[in-house]
């Protein structure tokens, strides 16, 4: 539906986007995820028409988008700051886009009423934006963007300004809305949890390039680049050389893992294993050497309610290894432990040389 091909945008010496290509399908909930300054917002502004790329094309259902001025594109953008018109009431804000289409007054009134109902603000139509809470303002912004029934809805950090409780509600709301109205959503966010919970597919951005496009589960379990492995969720990484059944981590020995397809044996590689995939066992006082896995000493235990995080110092490895266990942990700091994991749960990815 939306096809982005080879988009490059430079600001002076800085390359904000470097040959970005993406394809987004009809009705998809797509997320552009990356740290701030990675170029994801620039891409959003190019799609909306507030920024012009130096090269590349953007088409919507085959039509050249870049040839249209911003006010002629069938695209709605929900701004991070919401950008509500402070001198208009909520109803007037929502009606603004419909009035520009010169629709009959009666139809405008009806559609504004409907959409305010959808976002649960029917009682607030006469208020000014300044009289609303952050969550309410955001719903007005959302109502204003969907009332025009755009073919594509762009959302710039839609939940970043909200507190945790409202966020969770809004997240469900967005999902429900997307199922209901069937618009294609593209959301820009630096928050990986937001991206994972909302999106059907995620494109991870770094320094102006797309590092990986995948479904949330695949992105989490099978990162393809060191950046994605480090950016999406907590991860433990070990450096070494690729082996058929894992990684040769030098002094740490052979570690179990599944190499990515096409990774050559002996190539420089990174083994990544998620904290919750690691099994932790306390080592009894007298033990025979030579058992599998890594040995280490517990540095610290943090209890988070549903899970506990343990950091384990493994001799020969610079960073402590993070392990997540269900519930409270009986292991105390200082205890000797053995860390093991299934080869299927660890991924070995190439390190670009």
């Amino acid at each position: 539906m939306l096809k982005i091909d080879g988009i490059t945008r430079r600001f002076g010496q800085v390359t904000a986007l470097d040959g970005v290509s993406l394809e987004i399908g009809q009705g998809e909930f797509f997320a552009l995820l990356g740290p701030s300054g990675c170029g994801k917002t620039t891409l959003l502004r190019i799609i909306a028409g507030f920024e012009t790329p130096d090269s590349g094309t953007v088409t919507l259902d085959g039509d050249d988008l870049l040839a249209l001025p911003p006010n002629r594109r069938p695209i709605s953008l929900m701004f991070q700051s919401y950008a509500l018109f402070p001198h208009m009431t909520v109803a007037k804000n929502v009606a603004y886009g419909l009035e520009r289409e010169k629709l009959p007054r009666e139809e405008i009134r009806r559609r504004v009423g409907e959409v305010l109902e959808t976002v649960g603000l029917s009682a607030h139509g006469d208020r000014r934006p300044a009289q609303l809470s952050g969550g309410q303002r955001q719903r007005v912004a959302l109502a204003r963007s969907i009332v025009k029934r755009p073919r594509l809805l762009l959302l710039d950090e839609p939940l970043s300004a909200l507190d945790k409780k409202v966020r969770a509600d809004m997240q469900l709301e967005l999902k429900r809305l997307q199922n209901e109205v069937g618009i294609t959503f593209v959301v820009v966010t630096h928050d990986q949890e937001e991206a994972m919970s909302l999106a059907d597919r995620i494109a991870v951005f770094d320094s102006g390039s797309v590092r990986q496009v995948d479904e949330p589960v695949a992105l989490y379990e099978r990162p393809r680049t060191p950046f994605v492995a480090g950016f999406v969720g907590a991860n433990n990484t070990f450096e070494g050389k690729a082996r058929a059944a894992g990684l040769d981590a030098g002094d740490l020995g052979e570690l179990a893992g599944t190499p990515l397809d096409g990774l050559e044996e002996g190539a420089g590689a990174l083994l990544c294993v998620r904290p919750e995939k690691i099994t932790l066992a306390e080592i009894p006082e007298e033990t025979e050497d030579g058992a599998e896995g890594l040995e280490g000493a517990v540095l610290d235990v943090s209890f988070y309610g549903g899970v506990s995080h343990l950091s384990v110092d493994v001799p020969g490895h610079a960073r402590p290894v993070l392990v997540a266990v269900q519930g409270a942990s009986a292991v105390r700091p200082g205890a000797k432990v053995r860390l093991t994991w299934d080869a299927d749960d660890a991924v070995v990815i190439p390190v670009p040389s």
Binding site: A48, P70, I75, S76, F79, F85
Partner: protein, 288 residues
């Protein structure tokens, strides 16, 4: 709860107010000595009769008010209002696009443009008015330029038009600066949101930019209207010294006719008009 516990708090509040007063007192003293006292004098003169060689004779009269209603003076007041209003409208028409463009310049050019706006204030006002006389008078620069094109000469100086030109020239910066401040602080995303919702550039201006800068427009208009309305130097120099504006009339009453009480009455009428305008501006700005 107990009085003993609230007393220190009250003492603290009193001390804070005293502290504020210390900082405010230079400004307050200035206002009292240079504004309130003269205003009170003017106010009191109105009710007395003129002295033969200026000053006042302390005999009560209301004659000065009835004289204000004389069509001769009403016409001067009306004329002043007209000239000041025309000046304000022209300054707004010129100032808004200027301020809008400056607000959208890159930062370094913004500073340059703002300095350029303020630059004329660094030259003496009278000298700048003489410059206008040289430009506008019979054999002046504009007329000789027109002559070489086979036009003119025109009567450009010593008429109402020249006064308006002088007033617009002098007070345009006072229009541009508040407008610039208002336009500059507008969130650019509001314009983008408007475009995103399908509005053309002109509609965005009409529906978003202009309504949100109304307070700046009002401030600018007031800044231009107030000094234009009471002005007497520009009408004197560019208007040929005919008493067409209330400022000249007041000056004539005080210095030439030596009729202080009636001069005071005129001055009060001017202040009254301006107070009404200020109140109207405050009222509209609060609703906007």
């Amino acid at each position: 709860m107990s009085p003993a516990r609230t007393r220190p708090a009250t003492a603290l509040r009193v001390r804070r107010r005293l502290g504020a007063f210390v900082f405010l007192s230079p400004g307050l003293a200035y206002l009292v000595v240079l504004l309130l006292v003269p205003l009170a004098l003017v106010l009191s003169y109105v009710f007395f009769q003129r002295g033969r060689f200026g000053g006042v004779v302390y005999e009560y009269t209301t004659e000065n008010f009835s004289r204000l209603m004389d069509p001769l003076y009403l016409r001067v007041l009306g004329e002043s209002l007209q000239i000041a209003a025309l000046t304000t409208v022209i300054a707004l028409a010129l100032g808004y696009p200027t301020a809008y463009l400056i607000a959208r310049l890159p930062r370094t050019w913004k500073t340059v443009a703002l300095v350029a706006i303020v630059l004329p204030f660094w030259t003496n006002f009278i000298i700048r008015m003489y410059a206008w006389i040289i430009l506008l008078n019979g054999p002046g620069l504009i007329n000789s330029a027109l002559k070489s094109l086979g036009l003119g000469p025109f009567e450009l100086l010593y008429n109402k038009g020249a006064i308006v030109v002088g007033l617009v020239y002098s007070y345009l910066p006072l229009m541009v600066l508040p407008l610039y401040a208002a336009i500059e602080k507008l969130d650019p995303q509001l314009r983008e949101a408007s475009a995103n919702l399908g509005a053309s550039g002109f509609t965005t201006f009409r529906k978003v930019t202009l309504p949100l800068t109304v307070p700046g427009v009002l401030t600018g208009c007031l800044f231009v209207f107030v000094p234009s309305f009471g002005n007497f130097v520009i009408p004197e120099m560019l208007g040929g010294g005919k008493s067409v504006m209330v400022g000249n009339l007041i000056r004539t009453e005080f210095l030439q006719a030596r009729d202080w009480p009636f001069g005071s009455a005129l001055a009060l009428a001017l202040v009254a008009v301006l107070v009404v305008l200020l109140l109207a501006q405050a009222w509209v700005a609060r609703r906007a």
